[in-house]
């Protein structure tokens, strides 16, 4: 899937370069400063795609004003996001960067004072209309309390959400309530749930028509779909 997109992007890139060659019969090597914006953007796209770290685009915008303009003129294509973690408060990120989609990462570990650390993550999650990605991995002595705090702010719709990964490695299997994400995720493209019971998952999936990747790992034996199937059957009789 990823390789397919990459092949397509590479093909488009080749076409662009090919058309440049057609326009300029004396096509030759030059410095980056002589490259048109469209070519710079192609190169940036390739760079961002090849590097997996969410902050890689920061290096580009610090080079010069022109590069900055090129990057910020195509935020969707370059998949620009503000990466917020317990150590990178969303308020700080919004103060220093233009308004961009927010990606919230909480990767807990037992050594961390987990309860205090959630404050910045909760603050970020409250900006529901700006959140494009959420990746939560809760695994600490405060795990259940942390999970409850985080889950509590995720009961409303996140209309821009494209990526969601939940991995609460707790002693008890958490159950996600029906109201999670307001029951719909129309822009969701990638969903990964690990060791979670989610009775209302079918409803969420019905709304997630853009979903490309679905991963349900360590599905607990408690199960979580059957009751809804019965509800659908009744609906079809009406």
């Amino acid at each position: 899937m990823v390789s397919g997109r990459r092949q397509s992007a590479t093909a488009n890139r080749s076409l662009t370069l090919l058309s440049l060659r057609c326009i300029d019969p004396f096509y030759r090597q030059g410095t980056a400063g002589t490259l048109p914006d469209v070519v710079l953007l192609e190169i940036f796209d390739f760079y961002v795609e090849e590097n997996c770290h969410a902050d890689d685009w920061h290096a580009l915008v610090h080079v010069c004003r022109r590069w900055r303009n090129v990057v910020f003129s195509s935020p969707r294509r370059l998949n620009l996001e503000l990466f917020c973690t317990p150590e990178r408060p969303v308020t700080e990120m919004l103060n220093i960067w233009p308004e961009l989609p927010i990606y919230v990462l909480y990767d807990d570990c037992p050594e961390v004072e987990a309860l205090e650390d959630t404050d910045n993550v909760i603050a970020a999650l409250k900006l529901k209309g700006s959140i494009s990605g959420i990746s939560l991995m809760v695994d600490s002595c405060h795990g259940s309390a942390v999970w409850e705090k985080i889950a509590a702010v995720m009961q409303d719709p996140f209309p821009m959400l494209k990526y969601l990964s939940l991995r609460p490695s707790l002693d008890m299997i958490p159950v996600i309530p029906d109201s999670f994400l307001g029951g719909s995720a129309p822009r969701l493209q990638r969903l990964f749930l690990h060791d979670i019971a989610f009775p209302a998952l079918p409803n969420l999936l019905l709304s997630a028509t853009n979903l490309v990747d679905l991963g349900l790992q360590d599905i607990p034996h408690s199960g979580y779909i059957k009751c809804l199937l019965k509800r659908w059957s009744l609906a079809s009789l009406c």
């Binding site: 679905l214 349900l216 034996h221």
Partner: protein, 268 residues
């Protein structure tokens, strides 16, 4: 979690490219009282290229019976240990999947926790078209029995396999010593049985020793029953003289005496 409900969920996801369903334990079996009845139409998943499943065979059966995945190319299936694999629908899925007709290579690997087989096109490790099937169990005789069952059910739908390798993994290796008394020679023959089109057989040193012992028990009339299309045997670290060389040589000579048999060469 019923397969029927799952298919109902994903039927609306027409852009879905990758589906991963991994159960925690074999207790998550579908309810067999409302077992799937054949139906005329299956749910089309038009964009799905990757399927990753871990669970019991019954669940996979009920799932794949309900879906059509014309673009499927990468498939990872892991079964929990079962005594009997009642598999009908999964071989049908393999048969229906056009991209799986290119498989010409099968790699079997035994390790301490599982046995797995990977089907791929030649040089397939770099290719996304792949079917990897693993069965979780520790004892080698169970591993052989389980994989033989699954292969005998699934592989007849693939007539393009030409290369078979059987190796033991080093990470972590199977316990040959502990299992040596439990493995019956016929289990190796049962595992080889469905690979009727294989021309090249590649064996690791430990596996070659066991396969050679199994072949030794074949009567001369039956030597063409195992791997009838075989032309080459490759053994890792084969010594010029020794039990393995000797047994394979006898096997090859016996095959040579059969009118219908192709000549077989042994390589190190």
């Amino acid at each position: 979690m019923s397969p029927e409900a799952m298919v109902t969920c994903i039927s609306v996801l027409t852009r879905l490219e990758s589906l991963s369903l991994q159960f925690q334990s074999p207790r998550s079996r579908p309810d067999r009282t409302d077992r799937f009845l054949p139906q005329l139409t299956r749910t089309l998943l038009p964009a799905l290229t990757c399927l990753d499943f871990k669970g019991v065979a019954e669940y996979l059966e009920d799932l794949v019976a309900r879906i059509d995945v014309p673009l499927l190319e990468t498939t990872f299936i892991t079964f929990f240990n079962q005594l009997v694999f009642d598999i009908v629908q999964f071989p049908n899925l393999i048969y229906r999947t056009e991209r799986f007709t290119v498989f010409d290579q099968a790699d079997v690997v035994l390790d301490s926790y599982s046995i797995n087989i990977t089907l791929s096109p030649n040089g397939g490790s770099m290719n996304s078209i792949k079917l990897e099937l693993a069965i979780k169990c520790r004892k080698i005789d169970w591993q052989l029995s389980a994989l033989a069952q699954v292969c005998n059910l699934c592989l007849p739908t693939l007539s393009s396999l030409e290369r078979l390798s059987i190796c033991d993994s080093q990470y972590p290796p199977p316990d040959w010593q502990d299992d040596s008394h439990d493995i019956e020679h016929t289990q190796w023959l049962e595992l080889l049985h469905p690979f009727a089109t294989v021309k090249g057989l590649y064996l690791s040193k430990e596996v070659a020793l066991r396969v050679a012992s199994a072949l030794q028990e074949l009567s001369e009339e039956r030597v063409t029953e195992v791997l009838p299309a075989l032309q080459d045997i490759f053994v890792d670290g084969l010594e010029p003289s020794g039990l393995v060389q000797e047994v394979f040589h006898k096997f090859v000579t016996a095959r040579g005496r059969q009118v219908s048999s192709l000549p077989v060469a042994i390589h190190s």
